[in-house]
């Protein structure tokens, strides 16, 4: 057989990105369920709090971030499940080249569907919580800066639990502690912005956490998947 030139990282990324998009298009409902959950949970909170604008606005940052964390986790639960069951992950690990390139493509699509869409929907979410209009911009900014870390750290936990039949709760228990720094800076930024303070530091912190996640998580996901697939 001819010795093959392995395809470059860019082509592998593109191939995997296309595949993930095709999967999403084939089953769009699945991908959008976490967003539906986010909207529903947020309306429940608004109803439960009695619709008092002052009460809601005071807690808006914390409520929004907590629900974004949970919705992100919901989406991550099925991130690797189907590929694991169908043997696609096995084939990825056998590529004979760094597996984090296709994994990054997978995570990018996952983030576009969760974090990125949530950023775009943030104005609607903010209105439901009576967040003043001048804080909507900063809400979108902190979600944009912080949400990659949610997807990336959560993916490590998802990779660790993919081999378990009922890994959903364990996934939450593993991932939620990793989300604490993002929650602190994200919710803090929204309430500080409400008080008229400067939130540049919080945004930088969120970006730093996301960069750290981008550096560490692909390797964590790879190692976790190898463990999950061994003798499965």
């Amino acid at each position: 057989m001819t010795a093959l030139a392995r395809p470059g990282a860019g082509r592998v990324f593109a191939a995997q990105f296309r595949r993930e998009c095709a999967v999403v298009i084939a089953a769009p409902g699945e991908a959008l369920q976490p967003l539906a959950f986010l909207f529903l949970a947020l309306s429940l909170f608004a109803i439960g709090a009695g619709g008092d604008p002052r009460v809601l606005a005071a807690q808006a940052g914390a409520v929004l971030w907590v629900l974004v964390l949970l919705a992100t986790l919901l989406g991550l639960e099925s991130l690797f499940r189907r590929d694991y069951d169908e043997g696609v992950l096995e084939q990825l690990l056998l590529l004979g080249q760094p597996v984090f390139v296709p994994l990054l493509a997978k995570l990018a699509v996952q983030w576009l569907l969760s974090g990125c869409l949530m950023v775009l929907l943030a104005p609607a979410l903010a209105l439901m919580l009576y967040l003043p209009a001048d804080q909507i911009g900063i809400t979108m900014l902190v979600l944009l800066a912080g949400s990659p870390a949610l997807t990336l750290f959560g993916a490590v936990a998802a990779a660790l639990t993919v081999g378990l039949r009922r890994g959903g709760v364990l996934l939450a228990l593993l991932a939620l502690p990793l989300y604490v720094p993002t929650l602190v800076f994200g919710a803090g930024a929204i309430s500080l912005a409400g008080a008229g303070s400067d939130v540049t530091a919080q945004v930088y912190w969120l970006l730093a956490i996301s960069m750290l996640a981008l550096t560490v998580a692909p390797f964590g996901v790879t190692a976790a998947l190898r463990i999950s697939l061994e003798q499965s």
């Binding site: 057989m1 093959l4 191939a15 696609v88 590529l95």
Partner: protein, 220 residues
């Protein structure tokens, strides 16, 4: 595709041993497969055929010994195909990751699925799904094939197809290892039987294996 000389070793196992549930499935397994050679693994359920193939592929870590092998293709019990995507999308994805040009029409003709390119994999039968997985073999790109019970779910013509594909692959300088419960009938394939009744069938080659003691309940 004659870039490798006939003597190139595509798979070398040295003193390989695998433990599962406190038992040696096999140990002291040493063998070499040169280009053009094939190895048929047989043995009862649970004798370690799948584990051996997964270890060679690199999915499982051996407890002893080492594996050296050429770029390989592994076909396990799970097809490695997304049920949501079409046959063409699955194969194109695989070919792109392998860096080979997908000649889908030829490949699907070869496995008897002409006209199925745009059908979603979830609406295929088990045998057809298996044929799509076999189509990966036809895409090329790997010199060593590792096939775990490739005959599963296939009809008579599908089983003949597997044997033909392997024979062509060997003729073009590849090598193959497969596990099976019924002989594939590939000419020149060596036999290796795993299991309690330790026996090693060697077809005249001298580099094949040492005896395979099956040591139950032995600690690693």
């Amino acid at each position: 595709m004659p870039t490798k000389s006939g003597s190139a070793v595509l798979l070398a196992l040295r003193d390989l041993g695998c433990v599962r549930d406190g038992r040696w499935l096999f140990r002291h397994l040493s063998l070499e497969l040169p280009a053009g050679a094939a190895l048929e693994l047989t043995g009862p359920n649970g004798s370690g055929k799948s584990t051996l193939l997964r270890t060679v592929a690199g999915l499982d870590e051996p407890q002893a010994g080492s594996v050296r092998c050429a770029p390989h293709l592994y076909l396990g019990h799970r097809p490695g195909l997304s049920s949501l995507l079409t046959v063409a999308a699955n194969l194109r994805w695989y070919a792109e990751l392998q860096g080979v040009a997908p000649d889908l029409e030829r490949v699907l003709n070869r496995v008897g699925l002409a006209g199925y390119a745009e059908v979603a994999c979830r609406s295929l039968s088990a045998g057809q799904l298996r044929r799509v997985a076999l189509a990966r073999l036809c895409l090329g790109g790997a010199s060593l094939w590792l096939l775990d019970e490739p005959l599963t779910a296939l009809d008579a013509s599908g089983q003949a197809l597997v044997a033909d594909l392997i024979a062509e692959h060997l003729a073009s300088g590849g090598a193959a290892v497969w596990s099976t419960h019924q002989p594939l009938g590939v000419v020149g394939a060596r036999q290796l039987t795993l299991g309690p009744a330790v026996e090693v069938g060697v077809d005249s080659e001298d580099d094949m294996t040492q005896p395979l003691p099956r040591l139950e309940e032995t600690r690693a």
